[in-house]
Symmetry: C2
C-alpha cells in the first residue's frame, strides 16, 4: 500500500480543465528526450551509472523547483506493482519505465501535467500533458522545463545531429508530440482505415492509447510524429497540428453525416450503451471502452445531459485493471474485475445524474 | 376509427387481477365449441345460414344477459382491419375469426373475461380467460355460460359422440383448456425441448401465444389439451392442471439452480435488458418480447422493484404491431413501428418508476 498522491485520483488535476476541440481531442502531449553527456544510455548503463543518472536528474529537479513549482520525485522500486501500473494507466509513465527499467523514477508536478521519466530508454523524458487540442501549449511548456533543467544538467548534444538519444528515431530534437483523439464517427462509417493510412504517409504514427503496440480501444487513437531529425521543433508541432486539425474536420463531417442520414440508429446505439452502462452487472474492459465511446459521442451531440466530459475521461482511466484493483483494494481475478468495473461505472454515472 | 370499448385498453379488466402462480402462469383459458343443430357448420354454410347463426347466437346472448351480465355483440365486418387485429392481439378472438370467417362476430363481457366467437370453425366458441393458474375456475365459468346459453340454443349433440364439432379433434366435450406460461429458466438451461417433448407425449399441445402455427416469443408458451373425445371435461381439466403443475415445478427448480449457480450472470442479463428497454430508440417485436421476458423474470426474482406484473402483461400486448398502430393512430411501416414500440416501452417503464 502506498500514500503517493498520484494514486488518489484517476484524473490528474490538469485533465479537469478543458482545451480547444475537447469534444474530439482528449489530450495533447509533448515529450522531449534528453541524455546526460557523461554517462552511457540506460540500456547499456551499469546499476551504479543508472543510480547516478537518477540522483543527477532528481537533484536538478529539486534545484529547479523555484522556477518549475514543487515537484515530487517517485522511485519506481519503492512502489507496489499495482501502483506502478496505475502510473501507466494514468499516462504518467510508459509501460517500459514501469516494467523494464533499472533505477527507474518519475518526477511529477502537483497537477501531474508535468512528468519527467528517469532511466527509461533515455536518461530523461520530459512530458507535458494538456487537455484538449493544445499541442503548441504543451510544447512551449516542455521547452521551458527543458531550458530550466539544462542549467543544471550537461546534455549530450552534437552540433550536426542535435540532441543525442538512445534510439536513432529520437535523435535531433528528441521531440515527440502527440494527441489522444476520439474518432467514433470515422470508425462507424468505415473511413478510419483510409484516414489513418493517409496519416502514416505524411510521417505521423497512430497507436493505441497506451503507446507502442497497444490496441485502439473505445475509438481512441494516439497520433504522433514519427520523425525527429531534420525538422525543427516548430515544424514538427505545426505539422502535427495541421494534420490533426484535418482529422478533426473529417470526424466532424462524419458525425454530421451520421446525424443527418441515420440519426435514429445512432441515437439508439448511444442510448442503449448508456442504458447498459447504468444497469449492467458484468462489464469487461473492451466493452466498457466501446460503450463509453458511444456515450461520449452522445454527450458531444447534446443527447445526454448533465454528464461532464471529465467524468468520462475519469472512467476511461478508472476502469483500467490496475486502477480498479487500487480502488477496491483487493486482489481480483478477471471476472471479479468485470463486476467491480460494472459497479463503478454504474455508481459514477447514476450519481452524476442526481 | 372505432369507439369500441375493447380498443381502449391493451389489458382486459380481468387481466388486472392476479391468480395463483402468476409469477409463471400468465393466464388460463377454457373454450367450449358448440354448434346449432339445425344449420351446417360455418365452413360449408351459405352466407344466409351464417347470418342466421349470428342472429341466433347474439339473440341468445341478449336474452341471457340477466344471468350473464351485460354483453356487447361486435360484428367483425363493422370493424376496421386494425381493430380486428387488436381483438386478436388481446386474445379475444382467433386469427381465423378475424381473417377468414364469414358473418363473424364476437360477444364480449364488460371485463372481457368472457368472449363468445360466432362463426369461427364452429358456430359458437365460448371462451373464458382468467389471470394466473386458474384452469378449473375458467372451466366452471365457461360451463355455466354454456348452461345458460343452452336454454336458448338447440345444440348439435349426439348421445354416443357428445357435442358435434366442425373438426373431429373437438368432438365430444368440445373443450379446450389452456394456459399461457412463462418458462425463461427452462429455455436458458436448454431443458425446454425435453419438457415440451414430454408434454406432447401425454396428449397436450404446445403453441406460441397466438395459437396454432404461431412461434413462441419471449419464452411464453401456450399449453393445451389435444384430445376432447373419450375423456370427461373434468379429466381434461385435471390432466392439464396436473401436468402444468409439474412444469411450474420444473421452471421453479431451473430458476433456483440459475440463481445459485450463476446469479451474477443472470442478474447482468436481466438488468441489461431493463437498461435497454428504458433507453433504446428502436425495438423490434422479437427483441421486445425477449427483453420483457428477462425483466419479468427479474421482477419475479425480486431484483426489480416497483414494476407491477400487470404492466408487463400490458406491454406484451401493447407492443404488438396492430395495437401500436391503434395507440399512435397512424399507418406505420415496420421501422416506424420499431421506433414507436421503443418509445412506448420506455415511457411506460420510466413512468412506473416515478
Amino acid at each position: 500500500m502506498s500514500d503517493f498522491a498520484f494514486t488518489e485520483n484517476a484524473l490528474s488535476t490538469w485533465m479537469r480543465g478543458e482545451g480547444r476541440d475537447s469534444d474530439i481531442v482528449i489530450s495533447s502531449r509533448v515529450r522531449i528526450a534528453r541524455n546526460l553527456r557523461s554517462l552511457p544510455f540506460p540500456l547499456v548503463a551499469s546499476e551504479e551509472q543508472a543510480e547516478q543518472v537518477r540522483q543527477t536528474v532528481i537533484g536538478a529537479a529539486e534545484q529547479a523547483s523555484e522556477a518549475l513549482g514543487p515537484l515530487q520525485p517517485v522511485r519506481l522500486d519503492e512502489l507496489s506493482e499495482v501502483d506502478r501500473q496505475v502510473l501507466v494507466e494514468k499516462h504518467l509513465v510508459s509501460p517500459a519505465l514501469a516494467n523494464e527499467s533499472q533505477e527507474a523514477a518519475v518526477v511529477l508536478s502537483a497537477d501531474e501535467s508535468l512528468s519527467i521519466m528517469v532511466n527509461e530508454e533515455d536518461h530523461l523524458r520530459i512530458q507535458c500533458l494538456y487537455p484538449g487540442f493544445q499541442v503548441k501549449e504543451a510544447w512551449e511548456r516542455a521547452t521551458s522545463v527543458d531550458d530550466v533543467l539544462e542549467a543544471y544538467i550537461d546534455y549530450a548534444f552534437d552540433d550536426r545531429r542535435g540532441y543525442l538519444t538512445s534510439c536513432p528515431t529520437n535523435v535531433g530534437t528528441g521531440l515527440r508530440a502527440s494527441v489522444m483523439i476520439h474518432l467514433p464517427a470515422l470508425v462507424m462509417t468505415h473511413q478510419i482505415g483510409r484516414v489513418l493510412n493517409a496519416v502514416s504517409q505524411v510521417g505521423l504514427t497512430v497507436r493505441g492509447i497506451y503507446g507502442e503496440g497497444s490496441e485502439a480501444q473505445g475509438n481512441l487513437f494516439q497520433i504522433s510524429n514519427q520523425i525527429t531529425l531534420g525538422q525543427s521543433e516548430k515544424e514538427i508541432v505545426d505539422n502535427l497540428e495541421g494534420i490533426v486539425g484535418q482529422i478533426i474536420e473529417y470526424e466532424r463531417q462524419a458525425r454530421s453525416r451520421l446525424v443527418s442520414e441515420s440519426k435514429i440508429r445512432l441515437y439508439d446505439r448511444v442510448m442503449r450503451s448508456y442504458g447498459i452502462l447504468t444497469h449492467a452487472a458484468i462489464m469487461d474492459g473492451k466493452e466498457a471502452a466501446q460503450r463509453l465511446s458511444d456515450v461520449r459521442l452522445g454527450v458531444d451531440l447534446g443527447w445526454i445531459d448533465g454528464l461532464p466530459m471529465t467524468l468520462l475521461n475519469e472512467l476511461t482511466i478508472l476502469t483500467q485493471p490496475n486502477f480498479l484493483q487500487k480502488t477496491f483494494g483487493a486482489t481480483m481475478n478477471t471476472s471479479e474485475k468485470d463486476m467491480y468495473r460494472a459497479q463503478l461505472i454504474r455508481d459514477k454515472l447514476v450519481k452524476s445524474k442526481e
